[in-house]
């Protein structure tokens, strides 16, 4: 009878847990799993939104990978953005995290808040402000550059400078998130390790490379993986700031998906692009996970 009581209790606990999980699971199924599965199916069709659906097999993927020159440019733009953004974001966040956790820093709380505000600022508002900053004649950035006798740059209308302009704005907006992660990681390093290294005569730079960075490697790994994934999915910045121009110079994969789906009304083709993007992100993350044991120290 004792065993029957525990069995009943286990079943009740299981049912309770399932019921608590069900709302999220139902939502996940309806708004994520099923649409994702549907997009895979749609990618094998030609669906012009306002018209008939026609099965085309792998034709969408074939055209995308072998014939679409715009896709190649868009893929290059996305990789360019991802590489530059991730590197700069991590360097800026790490540098400011080291400063804010050092003894020399003042008004730490205020700076943490100030650096995090852009993260929670709506992208449309951010883009409006940066549009004005990037104005060739009256923008503050060109005014600042003129102090160093650097001639005015037409940031958002120059194919060479439009993407750096997007990256700079994105770094300003996004580094605050990684900053908080790195601050938490640095504050989690045992102080005894750093004190012992000081006693052993290690300078600041050596302490950073030999102690801080290895101890911070789990946080760095997390920040890098998440930042790379979000960078591949960049859309808001390019959509609002440049519209993908000039002349496709800032057109990225997700923007290309959006245009194919909602401007060209090619839902099947857009779905195919989405799955290519998924494959790229998946493989990149897989490689990172595989090589983490080379440089990430969890102990």
């Amino acid at each position: 009878m004792q065993q029957s009581f525990f069995e009943k209790r286990n079943i009740r606990n299981t049912v309770t847990a399932i019921l608590f999980l069900l709302p999220n699971t139902i939502g996940f199924l309806i708004f994520t799993s099923i649409p994702v599965a549907a997009s895979l199916v749609i990618s094998f069709f030609n669906w012009p939104v306002l018209g008939e659906i026609k099965f085309v097999g792998l034709r969408n993927f074939q055209r995308l990978l072998l014939e679409d020159s715009t896709f190649r440019q868009v893929l290059f733009n996305t990789i360019y953005y991802t590489f530059a953004y991730v590197v700069i974001n991590i360097i800026v966040a790490m540098s400011l995290a080291l400063w804010l956790t050092s003894k020399r820093a003042i008004f730490k709380g205020m700076f943490k808040a100030v650096f995090f505000i852009p993260v929670v600022t709506p992208i449309v508002a951010t883009a409006m402000i940066w549009r004005w900053l990037y104005l060739p004649d009256y923008g503050l950035i060109n005014q600042f550059l003129s102090i160093f006798k650097i001639s005015s740059i037409n940031w958002l209308a120059s194919p060479q400078w439009a993407m750096p302009a997007v990256i700079i704005m994105s770094v300003w907006q996004g580094f605050g998130y990684n900053l908080i992660i790195f601050i938490a990681g640095i504050e989690g390093i045992p102080k005894t390790l750093l004190e012992a290294s000081i006693i052993d005569g290690a300078g600041g730079w050596k302490r950073f490379w030999k102690i801080v960075l290895p101890m911070l490697s789990p946080s760095l790994f997390f920040a890098t993986v998440m930042t790379i994934i979000s960078s591949f999915q960049v859309f808001d910045q390019t959509f609002v700031l440049t519209g993908g121009g000039p002349y496709n110079a800032t057109s990225t994969l997700v923007l290309y998906i959006y245009n194919n789906a909602f401007a060209f009304y090619k839902m099947g083709y857009a779905s195919a692009i989405a799955w290519i993007l998924f494959a790229i992100v998946f493989l990149t993350t897989l490689v990172q996970m595989k090589f983490q044991k080379e440089w990430v120290h969890y102990e």
């Binding site: 990037y134 000039p246 009304y265």
Partner: protein
């Protein structure tokens, strides 16, 4: 109650609430548009439209209230978004069968949307003795019709005009644009205005701004067979003239953001540019956003003739409306003489009804030369109602940027840009 029972109960309640929320978001079956029946009970119609400012929202709300004054059982609720988002959301709504009752429709886009998402109004019109159908301008009615079926009733029509900043012209002693001005006269004025950080002309990457120059060379982007064809010398010549305003003549400021299709309006409102091209529907916004005296002139005489593009919009009843007759009734009020005279008074539109157009001119006497400009633009062979092929798509607007952007930025020759863009258009 035992702790386990409380947890179980709470979990069950959360599940029920979640399912309830999910069901609340569902869509009901769309009504059959072919079986209209008047409803005595109160009806709420949803009207989806595009706006550019709060001013416009308030104006449309006033017209919506007028519907209720005439038909007390009908309430019209406005749902609005900006211009670009409207044309993104609309096809998605039509494809999913979840469109609002009333839809705002631009004449040049209607061919694709009308048959897919709206109902023909011919039956309603035939039975409606109060409509005064002949009062509508035929051109814009044609834009809202497909294969002889009228899908929408128009509210405005208007040719693209050349607006100019009178104060800037006076400052530099430049003669105002008039109906005798040709391209060389236009260029001459633009050169004289380009000084002290000001420019003669405000450019935009938007294809509509280049169209009057193209039409003035007696050609358009699509050929007689209805296929887009940019590789024609007349188009190349006209596009070259337009692009060289920036790249060679320097009478127009450089494009500073290809994501902003309204750079010309912003530059003009700021008083930095002497002239720009737009439609009479934007007079309200020009007056609100600028501080100078405004003038209007017909499009200059182009390379072969004077020509301008005419555009207009109207309203349609969606296929999914449960109250098609009430929606039609609301439509007749929104496009009735009283409503269009209000729109005209606000400077929002040149009414699509001939009987209401006098109000537009009476209320905009502060816009110098407007009456004459409209009269010249209305002459036979001048206004060209742009009616693209039936498969006109939003895609065209994205792809045509591959033509306008590189030539206005000086990145490609017009010939190369036309060839590359044509390749993309061929895939449409």
């Amino acid at each position: 109650m035992k702790k386990e029972h409380r947890s179980l109960g709470l979990a069950a309640v959360m599940l029920l609430v979640s399912v309830g929320f999910i069901n609340a978001g569902g869509q009901s079956e769309p009504a059959k548009a072919t079986a209209p029946a008047p409803s005595a009970k109160p009806v709420v119609l949803r009207w989806f439209t595009n706006v550019q400012s709060q001013i416009e929202i308030d104006q449309w709300k006033e017209l919506a209230a007028d519907v209720t004054k005439q038909y007390p059982n009908i309430t019209v609720e406005i749902e609005s978004t900006d211009w670009n988002n409207y044309w993104t959301k609309l096809p998605a709504a039509i494809a999913s069968g979840s469109t609002q009752d009333l839809l705002t429709m631009q004449g040049q886009r209607s061919a694709g949307f009308a048959t897919q998402g709206c109902i023909p109004l011919n039956d309603f019109i035939a039975k409606d003795k109060n409509l005064n159908f002949d009062d509508f301008e035929k051109g814009i009615l044609g834009s809202l019709s497909v294969d002889g079926k009228v899908y929408g009733l128009p509210y405005d029509v208007g040719p693209f005009l050349l607006f100019y900043n009178i104060d800037l012209f006076d400052k530099y002693g430049v003669p105002y644009p008039d109906d005798k001005m040709d391209l060389s006269g236009f260029l001459d004025r633009a050169r004289k205005l380009t000084q002290d950080g000001n420019y003669g002309y405000a450019p935009s990457i938007h294809w509509e701004r280049i169209m009057p120059f193209v039409l003035g060379n007696d050609v358009t982007f699509y050929d007689a067979k209805g296929k887009y064809n940019l590789n024609r010398p007349e188009i190349i010549q006209a596009a070259k003239f337009y692009s060289e305003l920036i790249t060679k003549e320097k009478v127009a400021p450089a494009i500073i953001n290809t994501g902003n299709q309204y750079q010309d309006r912003e530059s003009f409102y700021a008083g930095k540019c002497g002239m720009y091209i737009d439609g009479p529907w934007n007079i309200t916004n020009i007056k609100k956003n600028s501080k100078f005296k405004l003038g209007a002139a017909p499009m200059m005489i182009g390379m072969k003739k004077r020509a301008t593009m005419t555009a207009g919009s109207g309203f349609m009843v969606s296929k999914t409306s449960k109250y098609p007759l009430e929606a039609y009734q609301a439509l007749t009020v929104l496009t009735g003489k009283a409503s269009l005279e209000k729109l005209a008074g606000w400077g929002r539109a040149l009414p699509a009804r001939k009987s209401g157009q006098h109000v537009f001119f009476e209320k905009n006497t502060d816009v110098k030369g407007l009456v004459e400009a409209m009269a010249v633009s209305g002459q036979p062979g001048v206004s060209f109602p742009y009616q693209p092929p039936a498969n006109y798509q939003q895609a065209y607007l994205i792809i045509i940027n591959n033509f306008t952007q590189p030539i206005l930025l000086g990145l490609e020759t017009v010939e190369n840009a036309a060839a590359k863009t044509q390749k993309l258009l061929d895939e449409l």
